[in-house]
Every structure is written in structure tokens, then in C-alpha cells.
């Protein structure tokens, strides 16, 4: 009887519009697919900047723009430190590394060697402005009369050696300019040897190789192509004898994250594939159902990508990642259809499709309602994601309805119905119903209560550092590079703006005066600021005035020094030199000199307003950040930018938006369902809603914090769980129902694919997977509990059919 080749009682009537519509859809898909490469090229590839996910209106556009530029510039920078106890070996290794990097010159430029002769003019360059340059320590000493400086200068004159001096005694009697330059040099912490930037520390010589990616090398494909070159450069340096090689730069993290994500995605992909094959291939004894299930997902993803690309200027990488998982919901369409081939009687694709079309349409409609709500949120990222999901599901649905029946001809032929099918049917029949089982009522009530309790004590985490732990090795290398270079950490910095360079420098000075107090109180390790190297003209004039008053005036420090040396003529020459020298150091000249190379990145440029950043050394804690934010706000034109917090703000904003979206989404789904199911709508919507509540509330009760990624998982549970409710509650056909079978197969394959994310080593993905696992699992378990009790006369039918199948198999 089942699967017998006997002629069908009534022919499988294919609607007249079927071929035309299927061809039309084919045309749409082909046209969209053909337009993708050029469109992708035109929009400059995928967007990977986290800041572009932020709602623009939520930020001061000028600040955001400056932050974007700093972030953009800093993400393009990378540095290698190549170390060996012997300079020559380190130099050879650095050359090998550089040569390797040179092979990718289309994507990155390695900084050229430093010209030693250019640096030779350094003392001359600074010498011209020397009477305006003063360390804060010397300033204090001078304000108190300067006698200790006279004593120190005398001591040094009598000693055979001491602190290095840059200028002649008459040009810099107290060594003030020397102190200034030496302090700057010490704060830089590295020197030049053979045109190489060298750091010597702990018995090791490090050679620094800075490089910068070209602006078009930030795309995903360029990063993937660069990754092997970047790691080959490390190996080349090691082969050439380097004892240690440290890397630092955004690109390394990006490359590593891409590789890592690739590995995890392929694990999940493999699991998913094995799942689908096990679940779809084996029961049908044919690979065709696998194709029928995956086709709507594939076409849907393609369609969604195309729609997003045309709707938005740039599609974000995260949109693609999460959007694709949302489109995974479309798998249910295929599963639901294919399971029809296990129905009693010959399988007639068009007839069956007509039979389930309402269910599929409802499933689509409810999910669309949900995802359009997502698209209405004010976050560009969520909007893209919502549209991606909605378009993908629509594309998947159209594919399922228009194409799949064509491809499903004779699907049921020669099938062997596996043993678990009748088993499942019996299982569904025996499933405890909420209306009959007191125990179940109790269990549901307890779970619901526990979830509510969980909601009450829920705490959230948006800190990006807690959600994404980078590769420990890279983090370690980052830390070493920062330690060796004494580099300020770039994720938290002050942004300073002024009408012109002078106002900018004055504001920086006002800021660093405040920061100096913080350093004394231990809140801060230090900072890196342009105005430390180039004081404002105002400060330089004040310094000159101070020197005039305390050092060169009659009875001043210079007089006391030269009197001790018994040489009044030398005093006269020193005073003459001071009087003759009036030119202050200015920012443009300094930026143009090779001296500024290590600090030039602090200058953002003069475009209407002059802008610079003051970088902080060390990683301040949260309370310090808050304090620094207040301190920054107390100086005009200064604002503290915290990129880690910015990213956390993005995540937090998403999380808050989604935590509104999920309940609202369920409400809209319920409204939509009540239109079709009337008072029975709650039976359809409740399992998924309860599953979501449990997935979020119970772990929260156990103390697990809620993150954005848990809520994203709930968005999927909303889509998938509601589908289960719809499929099971749809009016059943005459034969035994395969609805529960399709829901079970669908749930099993979802759990095998996304549920595997729970094993991810990235906390964000693990959260996502775990919540999905619980949510989908609970929805699946609960869906039959909420169905209406089958009428007594219809109950024996499935069992009988099951027996029949068994008999057939014998």
C-alpha cells in the first residue's frame, strides 16, 4: 500500500501558475546573484568596523568622526619586535622578516630605515628653541630660586662623567635644555642604530619593524590573503636566528579571529551536515531530501545578501554571520515538506504542498512580523540583521513553495520508513498533555516560576572583553610590545580640539597638568602628548620669562655658577646667547622634523579645528575611567574616548533593544496567530515563549549573566519555536500525521548545528549556542503538551498506521 507504484486515486494537480512563477523566481534569483559581485566591489566589500554598528544619532558626529579616524589609523598599524641578545643577529632576523613582508607590498608598507643624518640635526633643531623648553622638575626648582640646579651643574662640571649634555656650558649653563631632551628621549625608550629602531631591555636587543596596511587592505579577503604572509614573516625572522618575535596590531587579531571562526564554523557546519544527512538521508534512503531541505536555506541566504547589499551601502560582517543563522530557520520549510513523503499513501508533491501551504505561510508571516520589528530598531546593525533575516526567510519560503515540489517528484518512491517513525507517532500520542497531566502542570508552573525568579535577579554583561577573549598568545605579545615600546594603550584616549594649534597645545597642557596630579596619586601610569614635546607658545614664553628672572638676571643662577668658576666673561657670553635666542619651537616645524616620527600619530590634523589625541599608558580600571572622563570634561575641548566602552556600548544598546524586542515580538506573533487560530492561538505561541523564558530565566537564576548573544539566540527561538507550534497545530490530514516527525527532525538538526556552538571557546558564541540549545529543546518538548487533546476516534489511526509500516518492513 505505502510506496506502492499503483496509480494515484486522483492525479497530483499542479497549479497552472506553478511553472510561470517558478521561472520568474529563477529569473529574480539569477539576476540578483549576477549583480552581487559588481555591487560588492562598488560598496568596498564587507564592513568590519564595530563603530559602524552604533546608531549615529547617539554620538557627537565630530567626536565620532575623530574616533573613527583614530580607530581607522590604529587598526591599520602593525608592529613586529624581533629580539636577540646580539644586535647583529636581531638585525639579520629583522631583515629577513622585512623581506618577507615586502612580498605583500600591494597591501602594506614597511617603514623605511631611519636616516641617521636627519637625526644628527636634532640637537641643532631643538637648540634653536632651547630657552623655551623645561622639564617640570626643573621648572619647580627654578620657581624656588634654582640653587639646587646650580649645585648640580657644578657637581657635574667637577665629575669626570654624569648625565649626558647636549649643549655647551655657555649655551645652557644649568643643563636645562639637556634635561628636557634627555627626559623626552627616556620617555620614548628607544634609540637608533644603523638606521634601525632599537630597544634594549633585560639583556635583549629588540628591533622594531613598524608597518602600515594600505587603506584598501582592511577588507575581509585582503585580510585572509595577508594572514599567511604575516605569520610567514615571523617564521622567517625565527629562521634567521631571532630568539623572540612579538607582534602587535589589529590585523593579527582579525586574522586569528577569522581563522578561529572558520574552524568553529566548519565544526558547526560539519555537525550540521552530518545532522542533516543522518536525519534526512537515512529515513528516505535518498540524498534528495537533503537537497530539498538545504535549497531554500541557500537561496534564501543569497536573496537576503543581495537585498541587504542593495538596501544598505555596506553590509556588515556580523550581519552576514548572524543573518545567515537566522535564515537557517528556513530549513523548517523544507523539513516540513519532505516529511510529507512519509505520509500514508502515495506522495503527491503539489497536493501535499497545497495541504501545508497555510502552515508554511503562517510560519513565514509570524517570523516576518518578528524580524521586521527587529529592522525597525534604531541600530544600523540590527536593522541590517532584521532585513537580512526577513528577506532570507521570504526567499527560502518562495523557494520551498515554488521550486521544491518540482524537485520532489516521485520522492516517496521506494522509500523505507524507518523504525523510529512509528515510534515517534506513538510517542506523540503518549505525550503528556497540559490539560490532562497534573504533573506536567506542576513542572511547567515550576519552570515558569523559576524563569520569573531568574528574570528578577538577572544581571547583564556587555563588556566586550568578557564576551570575546582573544587568543592568549596574541594578547601576551601585545602586552610585551606595549611594555617594550612604553606604548600608550590605544583603546582609551583623550581627544583634544582647538581653534588652532596654539589653543590645542594650551588645552593639552591644561589636561596634562590635571593628569600629573593623577599620576602622583597613582591613578595613572602616564601619558603621551604632543605638548610634552612641543610646549605651547604661551608656555615657551613663560619659560623664557622665568629663565630671564631666575637664571640670567643680575644675581641669578647663572651669575652664581660663573662666579664659582671665577669667569665673569663667560657669564657675559651666556647672557648674550640668551638675549640673542628668541625663536620658539612650533608645531608644524616639529611635525616636519624626523624627531616627531614616534609621536606624529598623536596629531590628527587641522581641518577647521586642530585635533590631537593624548594617549594613556597602562590600562585604567573602570573607576579610573570614570574619574578620567570627569577630569577630561573639566578641560574645554577635551573628551575621553573609550573604545572598549564604545564597543560595549554597542553591545549594551543591542542587548537593551533586543530585550524589548523579544517580548514585543512574541506579542506581535500572538496577535498575528490569534487572527488565524482565534482563541487557540495561545497553544501555538506558548511553547516557544515558555521555551524562551526558560532558556533565559533558569540559567539566570543559577547566576549566569545575560548577554546580547543570549537574546540573539532568543530571536531564533522565536522564529523556530513558533514554526513548531504552527506545524503541529495545523489541521491534520487524513493519514497519520507527520507534523511531529517534521518538528522533531527540524529540532534535531537545529540542535546539531547551532547547538554545537555551545561548545565554542568564544564566550559569545557559547552563550548563543547554549541559550539556543535550551530554548529550542524546551520549545520542542513543550509543543505537543499544548496541543488540543486528539478526539478519541482519531487516536487509534496513527498507531494502526504505525503497525502497518512495521508489517510492510517485515
Amino acid at each position: 500500500m505505502m510506496g506502492s507504484p499503483g496509480a494515484p486515486a486522483h492525479p497530483d494537480a499542479r497549479p497552472r501558475w506553478a511553472i510561470a512563477l517558478a521561472l520568474l523566481w529563477l529569473a529574480v534569483v539569477v539576476a540578483l546573484a549576477a549583480s552581487l559581485p559588481s555591487r560588492l566591489q562598488k560598496t568596498g566589500g564587507l564592513d568590519t568596523s564595530l563603530l559602524s554598528l552604533l546608531p549615529e544619532s547617539a554620538r557627537d558626529p565630530e567626536v565620532a568622526d575623530a574616533v573613527q579616524r583614530v580607530a581607522g589609523a590604529s587598526t591599520r598599524k602593525l608592529v613586529y619586535l624581533i629580539g636577540h641578545s646580539d644586535f647583529e643577529v636581531a638585525a639579520r632576523a629583522a631583515d629577513a622578516c622585512k623581506k618577507e613582508l615586502g612580498k605583500s607590498s600591494q597591501w602594506l608598507t614597511v617603514a623605511p630605515p631611519v636616516d641617521p643624518s636627519a637625526l644628527g640635526s636634532a640637537t641643532e633643531f631643538l637648540g634653536n628653541a632651547r630657552y623655551g623648553l623645561l622639564t617640570s622638575g626643573d621648572r619647580q626648582a627654578l620657581e624656588q630660586g634654582g640653587q639646587p640646579l646650580v649645585d648640580q651643574a657644578l657637581t657635574e662640571l667637577y665629575q669626570p662623567f654624569g648625565a649626558p649634555k647636549l649643549f655647551e656650558l655657555e649655551q645652557d649653563p644649568l643643563g636645562l635644555a639637556s634635561h628636557f631632551v634627555l627626559e623626552r628621549a627616556q620617555s620614548a625608550g628607544f634609540g637608533i642604530r644603523d638606521g634601525r629602531i632599537v630597544i634594549e631591555r633585560d639583556g635583549m636587543t629588540w628591533i622594531m619593524l613598524p608597518a602600515e596596511l594600505r587603506s584598501d587592505a582592511m577588507g575581509f579577503s585582503a585580510q585572509q590573503a595577508l594572514a599567511p604572509v604575516l605569520s610567514e614573516a615571523v617564521r622567517a625572522a625565527r629562521r634567521a636566528g631571532a630568539k623572540q618575535v612579538f607582534r602587535s596590531g589589529f590585523i593579527f587579531h582579525a586574522a586569528e579571529a577569522a581563522t578561529h571562526a572558520n574552524q568553529e564554523v566548519s565544526t558547526i557546519g560539519l555537525g550540521s551536515l552530518i545532522g542533516v544527512i543522518l536525519l534526512m538521508w537515512l529515513p528516505f534512503g535518498s540524498p534528495r531530501p537533503v537537497l530539498l531541505v538545504l535549497l531554500p536555506v541557500g537561496i534564501g541566504t543569497l536573496f537576503a545578501f543581495g537585498v541587504d547589499l542593495w538596501m544598505f551601502d555596506r553590509v556588515h560582517l556580523l550581519t552576514l554571520v548572524f543573518g545567515s543563522s537566522i535564515v537557517g530557520v528556513a530549513e523548517d520549510f523544507g523539513v516540513h515538506f519532505v516529511c510529507g513523503a512519509l505520509e500514508e499513501g502515495p506522495f503527491e508533491p503539489w497536493t501535499y504542498m497545497r495541504h501545508i501551504r497555510r502552515g508554511l505561510a503562517l510560519a513565514l508571516l509570524t517570523t516576518l512580523v518578528g524580524y521586521f520589528a527587529l529592522a525597525a530598531l534604531p541600530f544600523p546593525g540590527l536593522r541590517q540583521m532584521g532585513l537580512f533575516g526577513a528577506a532570507g526567510l521570504f526567499g527560502g519560503w518562495v523557494t520551498a513553495v515554488l521550486w521544491v515540489p518540482f524537485l520532489a517528484k516521485n520522492l516517496g518512491k521506494g522509500r523505507k520508513v524507518p523504525r523510529f517513525v512509528p515510534g515517534l507517532v506513538r510517542m506523540e500520542a503518549a505525550w503528556p498533555r497540559l490539560s490532562r497531566s497534573r504533573v506536567l502542570q506542576g513542572v511547567v508552573a515550576v519552570l515558569f516560576g523559576a524563569s520569573l525568579l531568574g528574570f528578577a535577579k538577572v544581571h547583564t554583561i556587555d563588556d566586550v572583553r568578557a564576551l570575546y577573549d582573544s587568543v592568549p598568545e596574541l594578547s601576551h605579545e601585545d602586552g610585551e610590545v606595549r611594555r617594550l615600546l612604553r606604548l600608550a594603550v590605544g583603546s582609551q584616549f583623550f581627544l583634544v580640539r582647538g581653534e588652532n594649534a596654539e589653543e590645542l597645545l594650551q588645552r593639552e597642557e591644561a589636561l596634562t597638568r590635571v593628569l600629573a596630579n593623577e599620576r602622583h596619586s597613582g591613578t595613572l601610569d602616564g601619558w603621551q602628548a604632543l605638548s610634552d614635546s612641543v610646549p605651547s607658545a604661551k608656555t615657551q614664553a613663560q619659560t623664557r620669562e622665568l629663565l630671564q628672572r631666575v637664571v640670567f638676571a643680575p644675581g641669578g643662577a647663572a651669575e652664581r655658577l660663573f662666579n664659582t668658576l671665577e669667569d665673569p666673561e663667560a657669564l657675559g657670553r651666556a647672557r648674550a646667547a640668551f638675549a640673542a635666542q628668541t625663536r620658539p619651537l612650533d608645531l608644524p616645524a616639529w611635525l616636519g622634523s624626523p624627531l616627531s616620527a614616534p609621536e606624529r600619530h598623536l596629531w590628527l590634523g587641522h581641518d577647521g579645528t586642530a585635533e590631537s589625541v593624548v594617549l594613556l599608558r597602562g590600562v585604567p580600571g573602570q573607576s579610573q575611567i570614570e574619574r578620567l572622563t570627569r577630569l577630561g570634561a573639566s578641560v574645554p575641548g577635551v573628551v575621553l574616548v573609550d573604545q572598549v566602552a564604545n564597543i560595549s556600548t554597542v553591545l549594551g544598546g543591542f542587548r537593551r533593544a533586543l530585550s524589548w524586542f523579544v517580548p514585543v515580538g512574541y506579542l506581535m506573533v500572538a496577535l498575528c496567530l490569534s487572527f488565524f487560530y482565534g482563541r487557540g492561538a495561545w497553544r501555538v505561541a506558548a511553547p516557544a515563549a515558555l521555551g524562551s523564558a526558560i532558556a533565559l530565566g533558569v540559567p539566570a537564576l543559577a547566576g549566569k549573566p545575560v548577554t546580547l548573544f543570549d537574546l540573539l539566540a532568543l530571536v531564533l527561538v522565536l522564529g523556530i519555536g513558533t514554526d513548531y507550534g504552527i506545524f503541529i497545530n495545523e489541521p491534520r490530514g487524513e493519514g497519520f500525521s507527520v507534523a511531529f516527525l517534521s518538528v522533531t527532525l527540524g529540532a534535531a538538526s537545529t540542535l546539531l548545528s547551532f547547538g554545537l556552538l555551545a561548545t565554542s571557546s568564544t564566550p559569545a558564541l557559547a552563550n548563543f549556542g547554549m541559550t539556543l540549545l535550551i530554548g529550542i529543546g524546551a520549545s520542542w518538548c513543550l509543543t505537543p503538551c499544548f496541543t488540543q487533546i486528539p478526539k478519541p476516534e482519531s487516536q487509534p489511526a496513527p498507531v494502526a498506521t504505525g503497525n502497518e509500516i512495521d508489517e510492510l518492513r517485515c
Binding site: 669626570p160 631632551v181 628621549a185
Partner: protein, 227 residues
């Protein structure tokens, strides 16, 4: 990043070099030109006359003639040197000061407190000089010959030996034009001529290479540099 041409620090190096002269070993290289070979012979002869030591201490008198200052600056004091570790330089008159140079740092100490500390280990320029000094302490003749050229010298029996050195390194040569040493069992005088015509003359006396250093000096040379 800034290039530091540091005359005083170089002087330190040279004083240390001079005092450590007994530890020089001279292995003439076959490929050296005749003049160099002759100079190596002088070094060998001087080396043969010098007493080796682990620790050396004594008095010094220093006269510094600054190019632009008429009167020379005269000072005296005591020093203590320990091979491979560093030197303690105590000026006692006309002013009092205490300087310590170790492998890592040059420190000025006042009232038992470090008032100036230059971390050599983080300054490649100074680090290079320090490395040379300590290479000399380790009797690394290659390092010395890499750093200096022997201009002239004699080591005739019966009279004090003398030798004159010229820095090879262009950066060092920009500051130091010549250093001259004379002595017998130990280095007795040292003269440093700088490019700006500053001249520093140091005469050593009461040299003692048999007794260990005082605990105080050991502590100064052993103590890690405080910032």
C-alpha cells in the same frame, strides 16, 4: 630617538677603560697592517707590565680645563673599581659628590639617595658605551680594538709606558678626539681631549689592588638602581 652626544658619559667610559687597562689582552691578528701590529706589540708589552686585579681602589686628582672657562677646575677624591661590576667615584673637594656607574645605570647619590639615575640599559647609545666598558673588564680585546685605534705608544723598560688612543666610532669621535694613558704597574695618568678642546687630566695615586672593596662600595656597586 634623539641622538645624544654625551661628553661626560664618554669620559666615564674612558676613565673606566684606563683603569681597567691591566685586563687588556692583546692577540695580534695576522692580517693587521705593520703599524697596527707594532701597536699591538706595544699593547702586549704594556699588558705584560700591568698587574691584574679583581678590585682596584685609590686616590685621584683631577684637573679639568674647559675650553671657554679660563681657570681649570681642580678636584680630588677617591675611587673604587670592581671588574665586571662598575666604578664608584667620590669627589671630596672642593665639592662633595658620589657617582656610581654599574652595568645598568649611572647614578648620582646624595645623602644616601639616588638623585639622578640614567638607565643605560634602555638607552642604546649609552648601552653601547657600557657594553664596551664591561667588555674591557671581561678582557675582550676584540671589543676594544673595535672601539679604538692606537695612535702611538711606547713601553721601554725603565721608564713609564704610554699609549694614545683614538675612537673608531664616528659618533664617539665627534666628542672625544684622543685619550692618553701612562703608567707602570697600574695606570697612573689619564688625559682625555675632547673635540671642543675641553681637557680632563686625572692622576691616580695610592693604588691598591690587593684589598677587597669596602662593604659600602660593594653595596653601591651591587645595589639595583633605584628610580
Amino acid at each position: 630617538m634623539r641622538k645624544l652626544t654625551s661628553a661626560p658619559a664618554f669620559r666615564l667610559l674612558l676613565v673606566a677603560l684606563a683603569l681597567a687597562a691591566p685586563c687588556l689582552t692583546t692577540t695580534p691578528a695576522a692580517a693587521e697592517p705593520a703599524g697596527a701590529a707594532a701597536n699591538d706589540d706595544v699593547l702586549l708589552a704594556i699588558k705584560a707590565r700591568l698587574h691584574t686585579f679583581e678590585a682596584l681602589q685609590g686616590k685621584f686628582e683631577q684637573e679639568k680645563q674647559l675650553a671657554k672657562i679660563k681657570k681649570p677646575l681642580k678636584s680630588r677624591g677617591r675611587f673604587a673599581l670592581k671588574r665586571r661590576q662598575g666604578v664608584v667615584w667620590r669627589t671630596e673637594a672642593p665639592i662633595q659628590s658620589l657617582l656610581v656607574m654599574t652595568r645598568d645605570a649611572v647614578r648620582v647619590i646624595k645623602n644616601d639617595k639616588t638623585v639622578v639615575s640614567i638607565d643605560i640599559s634602555e638607552q642604546p647609545g649609552l648601552r653601547l658605551m657600557g657594553k664596551i666598558v664591561f667588555a674591557v673588564f671581561a678582557a675582550d680585546v676584540e671589543e676594544i680594538r673595535q672601539s679604538f685605534e692606537i695612535v702611538s705608544g711606547q713601553a721601554k723598560a725603565g721608564v713609564p709606558w704610554s699609549v694614545s688612543l683614538k675612537p673608531r666610532d664616528a659618533t664617539v669621535a665627534k666628542v672625544i678626539s684622543r685619550i692618553s694613558l701612562t703608567g707602570g704597574d697600574h695606570v697612573e695618568t689619564l688625559e682625555i681631549v675632547e673635540q671642543n678642546t675641553d681637557i680632563t687630566r686625572i692622576r691616580f695615586a695610592d693604588l691598591d689592588s690587593t684589598h677587597p672593596l669596602t662593604d659600602e662600595d660593594e653595596r653601591l656597586l651591587g645595589a639595583p638602581s633605584k628610580k
